[in-house]
Amino acid sequence: MSILNALRSDSYVDISQYRDQHFKGNRYEQEKLLKMSCTLYVGNLSFYTTEEQVYELFSKSGDVKRIVMGLDKVKKTAYYTRADSEHAMRFINGTRLDDRIIRTDWDAGFKEGRQYGRGKSGGQVRDEYRQDYDPARGGYGKIIKK
C-alpha cells in the first residue's frame, strides 16, 4: 500500500543543524548515528534540576535506560528504543521542566570525551553569550565573566 510522502512530515524528530566538533568520524557517519540514536542531549536545565525530575518527565515517552547529569557537564537521556526517544523529541522537547523550557536534540551516544556541553567552556552554548544574571545558571554568562 502506498503512503504519500507529503503526509509523513515528522519535523520534531528530524536531526538539527548541530554537529559535534569532537565527534570522531566524518559528517556522514555522525548523521547516520544520529538517525539511529536512542540518546538525547538535554539542554537549558537549571542547575537545581534533579535526576529524579528528569527521570519522571522523560519516562512519559518511554522507559528510560540511563540519565547522565552533571554540573557544567553534558546532560543526557538514553532510552531502550528509538521509538521512545522519538516521542521525547515530539512531546518533551520544548516543554517545561522545573519551570524552564528544555530542549532535546539527538546525540551520537555515550563515548569518552563527550562529557562536556556544547559551549566552548564546556557548559551550555547559551551560557557563553548570556548577558543577564541568572542564578540558576551559574550567574553571568561566560563571556561576561571573562
Binding site: 502506498s2 503526509l7 519535523s11 520534531y12 512519559k60 522507559d63 515530539r90 512531546f91 516543554t95
Partner: protein, 794 residues
C-alpha cells in the same frame, strides 16, 4: 533559480512548459503535492482551486494516469477529513473523462478488498464513505451503492463470525449516511428503509456485555456514555426525522452541480464481503465519550445535541485531524483550530471533548498519553484568551464526577493534570476543591488530590508542593521523600544485626571484595532458624536486611548512586536472593527503606528486574502480599505492576523477534544456495546450516521458556485478584455489609485494567485462564469482568 521553482497549486496553466524539461520523478512528487495540498494556503476559493487542479490533472492523464489514480486512492484512504474535497475532484475528472472515473471506481474496489484482507478496517471505512460520497458527485449510481449496503447488512444474517464483524459492516453503512443518506433515500427509499429496519433489529438483539468495561463514567447523568453503534443509530434516526437534512458537512460539489449532473455515472460492481477468517482482527467496540452539552458553552454558537448528526461529523473530523497530525503538535493544534465551519460551533469545547475522549479511551488511547498533554499546551498557546478557561471548566467537571469515573481513567486524568500544571507553575484554585478535605482519605476526591500532589512533587520538589497548596491541605501533601534507615544510630543498637551493619559499611568504604562481604554477613543470625545451619546458605531475611539497608543508605543520594550500588554488588545480591523468599524479602526491604519515596522504589525495582535480582512474578506476589495491603490502592503500586508486566511482554517479543530473524536468515541461505545451483549442495548445506539451526533451536527454547514465564505471571496476578476479591465479597456477605466500598471499586477496576492494558497478550492464554481460574464457580462479580473482556472480540 526562481524560474524553475514550481508555482502554487492554483496556477493551472504553467506546468505544461516545465514538464517537458523536468524528470518524471519530480513530476510525480509534484502531482502528489498538488493533490494533497489542494485548497491549502490559497487566496482563491476552494472551488476555483479544485477547478484548476481538475484541469491540470485532466491534461496529465495521458502520461500519468496510473500515478494519479494511485494518489487519489491513497488520499481517499488516508485523508478522511478532506473526503468531500477529493470526492468533488474525482467528480470533476469523471465529468471530463468518463473512462477515468470508471477506472478510479475499480481501483477503489480493489483497494477496499485489500484493506479488508489486511485488517485495516479504519481505512476500509474511509473508502466506503468515499464511495458513498461519489454518489453525491454523480460518479456512482445510487442504486448500486444501495446494493453494496444491502450486501454489507446481510452479514448480520451469517451463522459464523464474531459479533464485531457484523458490527463493522453495520457501522460502515450507518456512518456513510450523514454524507449520502439524503440522496439514497430520494432514489431508493424502499430499499433503504429495509436496510435500516434490518440494522435496527440487529442492534436490538446484539449483546452489549462489553459496555460497562469501556465506559469512562458509570453514571447515566449528566451525559450517558453510549455504546457507539447505539449512538450512531440514534443520530441517523434523528437525521431521518429531519428529512435527511445535514447542515454541517462542507460539500464543494454543490457549487459544481450543473457540471456534475451532466456526467455519466458508473455502477459499482457487486461487492460480496469477504468471508470471516481466523486471522481477521476486527475493531473493538467503543463507547462514545461525552462531557459537554449546550448548557456548558453558554455564550456563542450552540453545541449540537448528542444525537445530532452534526455532532457525529464534527467529532469524526476532529479525530481525523489528530490522526493525521499527532506527530507535529503545532500543526495539529493549528489544524484543529482552523476547522472549517468553526464559527457555527463552540469549537474549543468540541476540541477539548474529543481530546479527553481519546485520552480516556478504553482499552487504550489511540496515541501515546503525553501527546495529548503537549497538544493541549499548544492549543492554550494559540488561544490564550479562551482555551485555558474551557480546560479549567473540564477539569473542574471531571473532579466533581470522580466518584463514578473508571479507575484507569482517573490514573490518566491525574497524570495529565499534574504534568499540565508543571508547565504552568502549578497554578490552580485549590481552594475550590477544599470539599475533599472533609472526606475520608480513601474516597475518590481526596485520593485524587493526594495523587496529583505526589505526581507534581516528582516533577518538582517537596517544598514546592507545600508552597503551592493552602495550609489546610496539609493532610494531602506527600511525605518528604527521605530514606528511612533502620540502623541509624546507637538508639537502634539493640536491633539484631546492628553491629554487622557497621562492619558492612566499613567494608564497602574500604572496597572489600564480595567474598569478604559475604563472610561478614555470615555473622548475621537467622531469625528463621532454631538449629544451627552450618552452611548459612538458606534464606536469611536478616542478612538481606542488614546488607541492603546499609547499601541503600550509603547510596541514598540519587538514583545514579543507587543504581551504581546495585551494579557493584550485583553478585552479592544475587546470592542473597537465590530463592523465591529471598526475592520477596528484598522487595520488602526496599519498600521499608524507601516508603517515603515511591518513585525511588519504582526505579529500583525496574533495575532489579532488568539485572535479574528479582523476577516479575516476585514483584507481583509482593504487591499482593499482606505487607502491601495498606498501599494497595495507591497509584505508584499499579505503575510498578504495569511496568513489570510490560517488561515481561517486551522481553518475550524481543526473543520472538530474534527467532524470526534467525529463521529468515536460514531461509535466505537456502534460497541463495538453490539459486546458485551449487552442485555440492548437499555437502555444504550441513556445514552452512548447522550453526544457524543450532541457534534457532536455542532461541526456540528461549521463546518457550519466556512465554511460560509470561503465562505464569498473568496466572499469579489473576489468582491473587480472585483470592482478594472473593475474600472481600464473602466477608461482606456474611457481615451483611455493602461490598461496594471504595477499596472494592478500586480493586475490581484494577482487575479490569489488567485485562484492558494487556489484552493482546492475554488473548493467547484464554484457554488456560478459563479452565484454571475463571470458572463458573467464581463469584459472579468477578466472572462478569472476565465475560466483559471476552466480549470485546466476540
Amino acid at each position: 533559480m526562481s524560474r524553475r521553482r514550481h508555482s502554487d497549486e492554483n496556477d493551472g496553466g504553467q506546468p505544461h512548459k516545465r514538464r517537458r524539461t523536468s524528470e518524471p520523478i519530480e513530476i510525480e512528487d509534484r502531482l502528489e503535492s498538488l493533490i494533497c495540498r489542494v485548497g491549502e494556503k490559497s487566496t482563491s476559493s476552494l472551488e476555483s482551486n479544485l477547478e484548476g487542479l481538475a484541469g491540470v490533472l485532466e491534461a496529465d492523464l495521458p502520461n500519468y494516469k496510473n500515478k494519479i489514480l494511485r494518489i487519489l486512492c491513497t488520499v481517499a484512504r488516508l485523508l478522511p477529513e478532506k473526503l468531500t474535497v477529493y470526492s468533488t475532484l474525482v467528480g470533476l475528472l469523471n465529468a471530463r473523462n468518463y473512462n477515468f472515473g470508471g477506472e478510479f471506481v475499480e481501483s477503489m474496489i480493489r483497494q477496499l478488498k485489500e484493506t479488508l484482507k489486511l485488517n485495516l478496517y479504519n481505512e476500509a471505512l474511509y473508502l466506503v464513505r468515499f464511495l458513498s460520497d461519489l454518489v453525491n458527485c454523480h460518479v456512482i449510481a445510487a442504486p448500486s451503492m444501495v446494493a453494496m449496503f444491502e450486501n454489507f447488512v446481510s452479514v448480520v444474517q451469517e451463522e459464523d463470525g464474531p459479533q464485531v464483524r457484523c458490527d463493522w459492516y453495520v457501522y460502515a453503512v450507518l456512518s456513510s449516511l450523514p454524507w449520502v443518506g439524503k440522496e439514497l433515500y430520494e432514489k431508493k427509499d424502499v430499499e433503504m428503509e429495509r436496510i435500516l429496519n434490518q440494522i435496527e433489529s440487529y442492534l436490538k438483539r446484539r449483546q452489549k456485555i462489553h459496555v460497562p468495561m469501556l465506559q469512562v463514567w458509570t453514571a447515566e447523568k449528566p451525559h450517558p456514555q453510549e455504546e457507539y453503534l447505539d449512538c450512531l443509530f440514534a443520530q441517523v434516526q434523528k437525521m431521518k426525522k429531519d428529512r435527511w437534512q445535514e447542515r454541517h458537512i462542507l460539500r464543494p460539489y454543490i457549487a459544481f452541480d450543473s457540471v456534475l449532473c451532466e456526467a455519466l455515472q458508473h455502477n459499482l460492481p457487486p461487492f460480496t464481503p469477504p468471508p470471516h477468517s481466523e486471522d481477521a482482527v476486527y475493531p473493538m467496540p467503543k463507547v462514545v465519550f461525552r462531557m459537554f452539552d449546550y448548557t456548558d458553552a453558554p455564550e456563542g454558537p450552540v453545541m449540537p445535541g448528542s444525537h445530532s448528526v452534526e455532532r457525529f461529523v464534527i467529532e469524526e473530523n476532529l479525530h481525523y485531524i489528530i490522526k493525521s497530525h499527532w506527530r507535529e503538535r503545532k500543526t495539529c493544534a493549528a489544524q484543529l483550530l482552523s476547522y472549517p465551519g468553526k464559527n457555527k460551533i463552540p469549537l474549543n469545547y468540541h476540541i477539548v471533548e474529543v481530546i479527553f475522549g481519546e485520552l480516556f479511551q478504553l482499552p487504550q488511547p489511540p496515541h501515546i498519553d503525553v501527546m495529548y498533554t503537549t497538544l493541549l499546551i499548544e492549543l492554550c498557546k494559540l488561544q490564550p484568551g479562551s482555551l485555558p478557561q474551557v480546560l479549567a471548566q473540564a477539569t473542574e467537571m471531571m473532579y466533581t464526577r470522580l466518584d463514578t469515573m473508571n479507575t484507569t481513567c482517573i490514573d490518566r486524568f491525574l497524570n495529565w493534570f499534574s504534568h499540565h500544571l508543571s508547565n504552568f507553575q502549578f497554578r490552580w484554585s485549590w481552594d475550590d476543591w477544599s470539599d475533599c478535605l472533609t472526606q475520608d482519605l480513601d474516597k475518590p476526591k481526596p485520593k485524587f488530590v493526594r495523587e496529583v500532589l505526589e505526581k507534581s512533587m516528582r516533577l518538582s520538589y517537596h517544598q514546592r508542593i507545600v508552597d503551592i497548596v493552602p495550609a489546610n491541605f496539609s493532610a494531602l501533601i506527600p511525605t518528604n521523600p527521605i530514606f528511612i534507615y533502620k540502623y541509624m544510630d546507637e538508639s537502634s543498637s539493640s536491633l539484631p544485626g546492628y553491629a554487622v551493619t557497621i562492619a558492612i559499611s566499613n567494608a564497602i568504604i574500604n572496597r572489600s571484595s564480595n567474598d569478604e562481604i559475604l563472610t561478614i554477613l555470615k555473622d548475621v543470625p537467622n531469625p528463621n532458624q532454631e538449629d544451627d545451619d552450618d552452611e548459612g546458605d538458606s534464606f536469611n531475611p536478616l542478612k538481606i536486611d542488614v546488607f541492603l539497608q546499609t547499601l541503600l543508605h550509603m547510596a541514598a543520594k540519587s538514583f545514579s548512586h543507587s543504581f551504581s550500588a546495585l551494579a557493584k554488588f550485583h553478585e552479592v545480591l544475587k546470592i542473597l536472593t537465590d530463592s523465591d523468599e529471598g526475592k520477596l524479602h528484598i522487595l520488602r526491604v526496599v519498600y521499608e527503606a524507601w516508603r517515603n519515596h515511591p518513585q525511588m522504589i519504582s526505579v529500583l525495582i525496574d533495575k532489579m528486574i532488568r539485572t535479574q535480582i528479582v523476577d516479575c512474578a516476585a514483584v507481583a506476589n509482593w504487591i499482593f502480599s499482606p505487607d502491601m495491603a495498606h498501599d494497595f490502592t495507591r497509584f505508584y503500586v499499579w505503575e510498578i505492576l504495569h511496568s513489570t508486566v510490560r517488561k515481561m511482554n517486551k522481553h518475550v517479543q524481543k526473543i520472538q523477534k530474534e527467532l524470526e530473524t534467525a529463521k529468515e536468515k536460514l531461509e535466505k541461505q537456502h534460497s541463495r544456495r538453490k539459486d546458485s545451483g551449487d552442485e555440492e549442495e548437499d555437502k555444504n548445506s550441513d556445514e552452512e546450516d548447522g550453526p544457524l539451526e543450532e541457534q534457532i533451536e536455542r532461541l526456540q527454547e528461549k521463546v518457550e521458556s519466556a512465554q511460560s514465564e509470561q503465562k505464569n505471571l498473568f496466572l499469579v496476578i489473576f489468582q491473587r485478584f480472585i483470592m482478594m476479591l472473593t475474600e472481600h465479597l464473602v466477608r461482606c456477605e456474611t457481615g451483611g455489609v455493602d461490598f461496594n466500598t471504595p477499596w472494592y471499586k478500586n480493586c475490581i477496576e484494577r482487575l479490569q485494567q489488567i485485562f484492558l492494558m494487556h489484552h493482546q497478550t492475554i488473548q493467547q492464554y484464554m484457554v488456560t485462564l478459563e479452565n484454571l481460574l475463571f470458572t463458573a464457580e467464581l463469584d459472579h462479580h468477578i466472572l462478569t469482568v472476565y465475560r466483559q473482556f471476552c466480549a470485546l472480540q466476540m
